[in-house]
C-alpha cells in the first residue's frame, strides 16, 4: 500500500505523457423515458418519435467516427412498497439520428448492440428510445421508476 502511494505521488509530479490528444466525447441524457400517468390494466406505449416522452441521449465526439451503442434495459420498474410494473421494449423502439432530429432516425433494436455509423460533420449524434409500460389490473398506485443505461464504446 505504501509502495502504491509512493508510485501515485511520483506520478502526480511527473507530467503524464499522453500521446493522444483529441476531441473529447460527451454522452448526455437529455430527457428520460416518461410514461406519465397510466391506468391499471392499460398498456402505455411511448414511441421513439414522441418529442416529449421518449428518452433522448446526445453524443458529441470526433466527426465521422463510429460508436457501438448498447442499452441495458430494465424488465420492470419499482414502485411503492416494492411493487413492480412490467416494462417491455420492441425491435423498433430505438433510433439513431446523425442530424439529431427526432424526425429522422435510423431504427434499431435496443435489445441488441448497434453501430452508429458516424457522428455527423460537427461530431454530433442523438439516440432516442421508446418503450411500453404494462400495468396490471391491480397495479398499486404511486410513482414507479427504473434506470436505463446507455453504453457508448468508442471505435476503434
Amino acid at each position: 500500500m505504501r509502495t502504491l502511494k509512493l508510485v501515485l505521488a511520483t506520478a502526480l509530479l511527473v507530467a503524464p505523457p499522453v500521446v493522444a490528444q483529441n476531441r473529447p466525447i460527451t454522452v448526455t441524457g437529455v430527457r428520460g423515458l416518461t410514461f406519465g400517468t397510466v391506468f391499471p390494466g392499460v398498456r402505455r406505449v411511448i414511441l421513439k418519435t414522441d418529442p416529449s416522452n421518449s428518452a433522448q441521449f446526445d453524443i458529441t465526439g470526433v466527426k465521422n467516427n463510429q460508436l457501438l451503442l448498447t442499452f441495458t434495459l430494465p424488465a420492470s420498474m419499482t414502485g411503492p412498497a416494492g411493487a413492480t410494473m412490467p416494462l417491455s421494449f420492441g425491435a423498433s423502439d430505438a433510433g439513431y439520428s446523425q442530424s439529431q432530429s427526432i424526425g429522422s432516425q435510423v431504427t434499431f433494436d435496443p435489445r441488441t448492440s448497434f453501430i452508429a455509423s458516424t457522428l455527423n460533420q460537427q461530431g454530433r449524434g442523438s439516440v432516442f428510445l421508446g418503450g411500453t409500460a404494462n400495468p396490471t389490473t391491480n397495479q398499486r398506485a404511486g410513482s414507479y421508476t427504473a434506470t436505463i443505461t446507455l453504453t457508448v464504446a468508442y471505435y476503434p
Partner: protein, 273 residues
C-alpha cells in the same frame, strides 16, 4: 487542444440539461513503458454534480459472421492475450465532478517483470450518474405515475507500448455483390506485427472505364482479425463489369499516437449479369 475544447464547453454550459454526463478527453490513450503513466480529463459542463465511477476490462474489437462489429470482452480463453487490464490502475476510481469543474484521472502501470516488447490493451469505463430525471406528473398518490432515469457509460481504449512496436495489416478474401442501390463489400483484415492497426479503410467502386461510381471511408481498428461488411452507395448498377478497390492505411489525424504502416490495397472485378 484540450483547453480549447474545455473553453468551448464552458461557453455552452448554460444549456439546461436533465441528466448531464461528463466530457471525457482524450478518447484514446497511449502510454509508454518509459513513464508508465497517463491521464484522462473529466469535465462537467452541466449545472449539477455528476458522480463518476471508473472501471476497466480487457477488450478488443472483432466482427461476427455477418460482418457486424462488436467489442469483445476478455474471458479466461484470452489469458494469453495482450491484456493490460490487470496492471494498469486508475486513480481515483470514484469521484464527483462539480458543475463547470474538471478533474484528472491518473493512470498508473505496474507491468510484470520481463514483459515482452509489444502493445497491450485495456478498456476504461466511465459510468456517469447525474441528477435524477424527475418522474413527471402530479404528486397524487391515487395515481400511477411512471418514468425512467438515465445513466451513461462511456468506453475508451488504452494502449500500453513497450520497446519495439510495429504494426501492419494483410488484406485477403475480398468479395463484393450488388445489393439494391449499393455494392456490399467484405474483406478479411489480419493484423501484422505486435500492435493494433488503427487507421482507415477506403472503398472505391469504378466502372470498366475507371470512372468512380461510389466511395466509402471508415475508421478501422484491427486488433487480431476483422471481416467487416460495408455498403458502398453507387446507385443501381446496370449490366456490366466493374472494379471494387479497397485500401487500408494509417492516414488519420485522430486519434494521435497512431502507429504508421504502409498502405495495403486489393481489388476485384465485379460482373453484374
Amino acid at each position: 487542444m484540450m483547453r480549447r475544447w474545455l473553453s468551448v464547453a464552458l461557453m455552452a454550459g448554460a444549456v439546461p440539461l436533465v441528466a448531464q454526463g461528463v466530457m471525457i478527453a482524450p478518447t484514446a490513450i497511449v502510454m509508454d513503458h518509459r513513464t508508465r503513466s497517463g491521464n484522462v480529463t473529466l469535465y462537467n459542463p452541466g449545472n449539477e454534480p455528476v458522480e463518476v465511477r471508473i472501471s476497466s476490462f480487457f477488450g478488443y474489437w472483432t466482427t461476427d459472421s455477418t460482418g457486424a462489429l462488436s467489442l469483445h470482452e476478455g474471458t479466461a480463453a484470452d489469458s494469453a492475450a495482450p491484456s493490460a487490464a490487470g496492471w494498469i490502475q486508475a486513480f481515483p476510481r470514484r469521484l464527483t465532478v462539480a458543475p463547470l469543474e474538471r478533474q484528472t484521472i491518473r493512470l498508473l502501470a505496474t507491468p510484470p517483470a520481463g514483459l515482452p516488447d509489444g502493445e497491450y490493451w485495456m478498456r476504461l469505463v466511465f459510468e456517469a450518474k447525474a441528477g435524477a430525471v424527475p418522474v413527471s406528473g402530479v404528486a397524487d398518490t391515487s395515481k400511477i405515475v411512471v418514468g425512467l432515469q438515465l445513466q451513461m457509460r462511456t468506453i475508451i481504449g488504452v494502449a500500453y507500448r513497450k520497446g519495439s512496436v510495429h504494426t501492419g495489416v494483410a488484406v485477403s478474401n475480398l468479395r463484393a455483390r450488388p445489393v439494391d442501390d449499393s455494392v456490399e463489400v467484405r474483406v478479411r483484415l489480419e493484423r501484422q506485427g505486435n500492435a493494433a492497426f488503427v487507421g482507415t479503410v477506403k472503398w472505391t467502386v469504378t466502372d470498366s472505364a475507371g470512372k468512380t461510381l461510389g466511395e466509402l471511408a471508415s475508421p478501422i481498428g484491427v486488433y487480431f482479425r476483422l471481416e467487416p461488411r460495408y455498403r458502398v452507395p453507387v446507385g443501381v448498377l446496370p449490366r456490366g463489369r466493374y472494379w471494387v478497390k479497397v485500401e487500408a492505411n494509417t492516414d488519420r489525424a485522430d486519434p494521435e499516437g497512431i502507429l504508421r504502416a504502409p498502405a495495403v490495397r486489393d481489388s476485384l472485378a465485379l460482373v453484374v449479369p
